[in-house]
């Protein structure tokens, strides 16, 4: 694979997973605040 293209695609995947797992972590935090607080 062209290395710059590979880095670009991997970076896009990383940003995607940061958004998904970030939202998941936010939901767990809100669950603690709203339902257990």
């Amino acid at each position: 694979m062209n290395s710059s293209l590979g880095v670009f695609v991997t970076a896009v995947y990383a940003a995607t997973f940061v958004l998904i797992f970030g939202y998941g972590a936010y939901l767990l935090w809100r669950l603690g605040v709203e339902c257990e607080g």
């Binding site: 062209n2 293209l5 896009v12 940003a15 603690g32 709203e34 339902c35």
Partner: protein, 230 residues
């Protein structure tokens, strides 16, 4: 808060969904990064394995939001309003991922991040509609009126989905036609690529169900607190 109550907030079903989502997502990434490159798009095709799954999951989430909105109007149970709003929020997240992945794919392919061609324009309208849905919810203080207005908006919102899906057929432009062409019953991909795309689609759907459950619980707890404060 005792241990039993804590367990009931994040229950066994949530734990199973989390484990299944992570496992299937890992399998999806393995398949995505071992599938052969596309003849024209080369390794950029890998962005589409998540882009398409996110788009289909966003469509599903908006239909589920409509389903719970109809249930709310029928049964008048605030729990359905919470679930409708929860599904719309998770749908908006996946719509944002769809736009992000699409823009990252478009820059090296088309030379621009964004162009006002029909598919992208209808995607922007779909996203803007659901941002408006949440602005509407924020603007109304009365919980009952807010739930009714939001239900009407959630039902109206799904009109955008067939327009968005069909835009590549109705107004041919630079966006490629659907990978899973349900109109002509064709799949425009080779088997290893289809498998990578489908496994990622399943993973994203499992994550969607988990997020819907968690957000639904958060919304119900917040609604209960709102009732106590009044």
């Amino acid at each position: 808060m005792n241990r039993a109550t804590r367990k009931s907030v994040f229950d066994t079903v949530d734990a199973v969904l989390l484990a299944a989502g992570l496992l299937v997502l890992a399998a999806g990434q393995y398949l995505a990064f071992t599938a052969p490159p596309d003849v024209q798009q080369h390794y950029l095709i890998r962005i589409l394995y998540v882009h398409v799954g996110a788009a289909w999951t966003a469509y599903l989430a908006f239909f589920v939001a409509m389903f719970y909105a109809v249930l709310y109007l029928w049964k008048q149970d605030p729990a359905y309003d919470c679930l409708s709003a929860a599904s719309a929020e998770v749908g908006l997240l996946f719509m944002a991922l769809t736009l992000f992945g699409g823009m990252m794919w478009a820059r090296p392919t088309w030379g621009v991040y964004w162009t006002w061609e029909p598919k992208l324009t209808t995607s922007a309208i779909l996203t803007a509609f659901y941002i408006g849905y949440f602005l509407l919810r924020q603007a109304i203080e009365d919980p009952e009126f807010r739930a009714k207005a939001a239900a009407a908006a959630a039902i109206l919102g799904v009109v955008n989905i067939p327009i968005n899906y069909m835009s590549v057929y109705w107004w041919r432009s630079i966006h490629q036609t659907a990978t899973f062409d349900i109109i002509n019953r064709k799949v425009h991909m080779d088997s290893p690529m289809v498998l990578a795309m489908l496994v990622n689609l399943v993973a994203i759907n499992i994550i969607y169900v988990l997020f819907l459950r968690l957000k639904g619980k958060v919304a119900r707890c917040a609604a209960q607190k709102e009732d106590w404060d009044e």
